[in-house]
């Protein structure tokens, strides 16, 4: 029967077990050393969930494939190749010591699979090596660790084929139809066939020991080189359980803790996450700051943090520059694309927190926005209106007077105070009134949700304001909160503590879609224009609302043209994370980068659903082409334009 003898032709084969024991011990020690990086952070409970591992594993592959199919496929070759070979080794061990089943046809299939996947792995690694060292397309440092991560497994594979080839050249009993199942080694066998028996044995023995050494070195590499992502990525995925996009860490404020000054101020979960970065560089693809020439690259930040040796050293200024720190719009595009599920955003915000809360350090223009928030409850420094001025002549019910209503319309600071955005609030009111919705607004009782302030780093101001708002919201009874600002939406829904009373927070797009569904709005689909919809980050990528705004456009009579970067692949307008208040002298402007992308569709109208997107995109359009006839509108404005007289 066709099969293979364990340790064929090798004396002292049992040394394998000794060496594997030693290797495991060393590997454990190396991982222990690695874990010191994570363990000097603040303790946070790490809970494991096998199910999420499964989900995230497939997510990871998907993300690798999404933006660079070639690399995705090559990585799958390597990944699945090695997994298969590993399983193969285990099966071989079971076969030798417990129950012999690898014989005959089973053995043939076994060998076909292993040889084929081994070849794929070899092709994969070779291609990745060429990509990095010859074509110079890969990011991340080209140091010894990176080199070994490629070289060791590659050499292990090559020597493995050499072992097999030289064995087959000597022991023809195994070679029943070997040409069939051993095709990768065919050239090796053919080349060796002419050698003498003793030469072949020497080659076999040498390559066997070298192969074994290399294999164990490769295993050790899991603790020391870039290959450690094999351990770290799943570990990181485990502890992401329960993390939703855009989620920030709650920090209890005290006299002593104000966010992250040094590495030891991160939590251990965050440090695992930082360590899991392999410089895959998917994050840069859609990063609005990076793509507008700013110095911020999420990958670079993670790399820099990984290299910090002094856990107590201050990070901002030395490791992370202020330019990088303040450039992040918190859009989450990096988080969404990362194959190891590293999340740069919450690290950046923790760094901002220390700067703002402990040092009062922030870009000068942000200070006026935050001071305005402190004094007036809204960030629009130069505005001199009250939150009710926009309602003049519209008969908008105020909660404190109406008392009994179903829907609370959370207007937001921008929607109540900024000229352009007031038009959207007015459009929504008209729609709500047309549909006879029993709604009210908080009016003067409303304060900023402080979504922006939180992401700018002022956690203290956020917590104070949140408390105020939550107690105001508790005073009234209603079923639904709707808002036209994705930032307010995200914070009200995910960060405030109000949904436990059965209150649901809805995006205005979802609510309007529902009204249309129920036939409550008298709309005629008369728009007849080409419309490109720009997905706001906090509705789209972070909270998964894609279809309703598009359906609203269609129902208004628009012909939708999808932008290349849409849905979760949308490109941020540059308004989030406080960046709307930035001076923006470096590089080009994010909003212009995005506007150019949208203008490529040549639509008559750019629709969106966020007051900041509207502000930024209109600015951009004004800068790029003041004579442009392209309009930018909220979907509510589109809809109200098609409202018919009853």
């Amino acid at each position: 029967m066709l099969s293979r003898e364990l340790f064929w032709g090798i004396e002292y084969g049992w040394m394998t077990y000794v060496i594997s024991f030693i290797t495991t011990a060393i590997l454990v020690y190396l991982l222990y050393l690695k874990s010191t990086f994570w363990r000097q952070g603040i303790q946070e409970k790490v809970c494991f969930n096998w199910k999420s591992l499964q989900i995230f594993r497939s997510l990871s592959d998907q993300r690798l494939l999404d933006d660079n199919k070639t690399i995705g496929i090559l990585h799958m070759f390597v990944f699945y190749g090695f997994i298969t070979l590993f399983i193969g080794t285990i099966l071989s061990m079971l076969d030798s010591h417990f129950y012999h089943f690898l014989e005959g046809d089973v053995f043939v299939i076994y060998k076909i699979v292993l040889n084929f996947t081994g070849l794929l792995a070899l092709i994969g690694i070779t291609a990745l090596f060429l990509r990095r060292y010859v074509f110079k397309l890969a990011k991340g440092d080209n140091n010894l660790q990176t080199l070994l991560a490629l070289l060791l497994p590659w050499l292990a594979l090559v020597t493995g084929f050499l072992v097999e080839g030289s064995r087959l050249a000597v022991a023809p009993s195994e070679s029943y139809g070997w040409e069939f199942w051993a095709f990768p080694v065919y050239p090796i066998v053919a080349a060796l066939k002419s050698q003498t028996y003793s030469t072949l044995i020497t080659i076999h023995t040498l390559s066997w020991w070298i192969h074994m050494l290399l294999s164990f070195l490769t295993i050790l590499a899991l603790g020391w080189t870039k290959l450690s992502h094999v351990v770290l990525a799943p570990l990181n995925m485990f502890q992401q359980v329960g993390q939703t996009p855009g989620q920030l860490r709650e920090i209890p404020l005290s006299d002593e803790y104000f966010g992250t000054e040094s590495l030891s101020d991160f939590t251990n979960k965050q440090l695992i996450s930082i360590d899991a970065c392999v410089s895959a560089n998917r994050c840069e693809i859609n990063c609005p700051a990076y793509n507008s020439g700013k110095s911020l690259s999420p990958r670079l930040i993670m790399e820099k943090l990984q290299k910090v040796k002094n856990y107590k050293a201050s990070l901002v200024g030395d490791t992370v520059s202020e330019d990088e720190l303040w450039a992040c719009t918190t859009c989450g595009a990096c988080q969404q694309k990362c194959p190891t599920l590293t999340n740069p955003v919450d690290k950046i915000i923790d760094l901002r927190r220390f700067q703002v809360l402990a040092l009062g350090n922030m870009p000068q223009t942000w200070q006026s926005a935050l001071m305005s928030l402190q004094r007036r409850g809204h960030p629009w420094n130069s505005v001199n209106r009250s939150r009710l001025d926009w309602t003049k002549g519209l008969n908008v019910p105020i909660a404190s007077q109406k008392k009994d209503f179903d829907v609370l319309f959370w207007v937001g600071c921008t929607g109540a105070l900024m000229d352009r955005n007031i038009q959207v609030s007015q459009a929504i009111v008209k729609l709500l009134q047309d549909a006879n919705v029993n709604f009210a607004i908080l009016g003067l009782e409303e304060n900023c949700t402080c979504h922006m302030a939180r992401r700018m780093g002022d956690e203290y101001l956020y917590q104070e304001m949140a408390e105020k708002n939550q107690s105001t919201l508790k005073q009234y009874t209603y079923k639904t909160i709707i808002t036209a600002c994705p930032h307010c939406y995200h914070t009200l829904k995910n960060e405030y503590d109000i949904t436990n009373n059965g209150i649901q927070v809805l995006s205005h797009t979802v609510f309007l879609r529902e009204l249309l569904d129920k036939g409550l709005l008298n709309i005629k689909p008369g728009l007849g224009k080409n419309v490109t919809y720009h997905d706001p980050c906090y509705y789209g990528r972070i909270n998964g609302i894609y279809e309703q705004p598009r359906e609203i456009c269609k129902l208004a009579g628009a012909k939708l043209i999808e932008n290349e970067k849409s849905r979760d692949n949308s490109f941020c307008c540059g308004g989030g994370g406080g960046v709307i208040w930035s001076d923006d002298p470096v590089g080009s402007r994010i909003f212009e980068t995005r506007a150019k992308q949208l203008l490529d569709n040549n639509a008559d109208l750019i629709a969106t659903a966020c007051p900041f997107c509207i502000t930024m995109l209109e600015s951009a359009l004004n800068n790029l082409d003041p004579n442009s006839t392209v309009k930018i509108q909220d979907v509510a404005e589109l809809l109200v334009g098609q409202l018919q007289e009853r």
Partner: protein
Amino acid sequence: MKIAVLLKQTFDTEATISLDSEGQINRQGVNLIINPYDEFALEEALCLKENYGGEVTVISAGAPEAQTALSQALAMGADKAVLVTDDALAKSDEQAYALLLSKHLSDLGFDLILAGWRAIDDGSAQVALRVAERLGIPHINVVTKLEINDGKAVATRETEGGSEIVEVSLPAVITAQKGLNEPRYPSARGIMQAKKKPLQKLSLADIGLSADQVTPKVEIISYFMPPTRSVGKIIPGEMPEAARELCRLLREEAKIL
């Protein structure tokens, strides 16, 4: 260096002002802030403390609400705060405030006294200078740059049509103008530390003054709103014509040109 900063709490610059039924200024719902010019003075004091060491005391006289302004000053980095509050101060004028402030200041002794050059509510621009006169120390007014060397203050002072560089010996009163510095943000850490810093509330008796010593010399007898300007003319027409028409109106109707 012992530095004192005179601070006033005023209405927010964006506040809408109205008169109530009794013709008094409505204080309902108005945000109260540190007088912006006093913030420049405070920031300067904090910078000097960082450079030369010492202690910064903020002093305010007025309504009890001024406590929040003083807390904010402590959060920005001042070491001590004093609020002189008393019912008798309700109608006080600039010279009464100057009296009580200088009394308290002379009791404590300071090397440098900083204040905003005016308050945005009444725009008097008097109190700091009166304090200097009372204490018999020199002053430099409306300062956009300040250096302290060897017991002397050298300041750039704004004048009409230019500026001058003036030197005085300490102790002195310096009043701050916009452009002197950029006031820092009161950080959360500062706010928490401020809770532990001393904030003294004193009545007139506490500083050794009686109510009749602070009777005002100047009184406000009534308030009135400025006349709302009537909506003017939009000059219609195409460009050269409209410009011509404007000139004509300015000459013949408004009689200006």
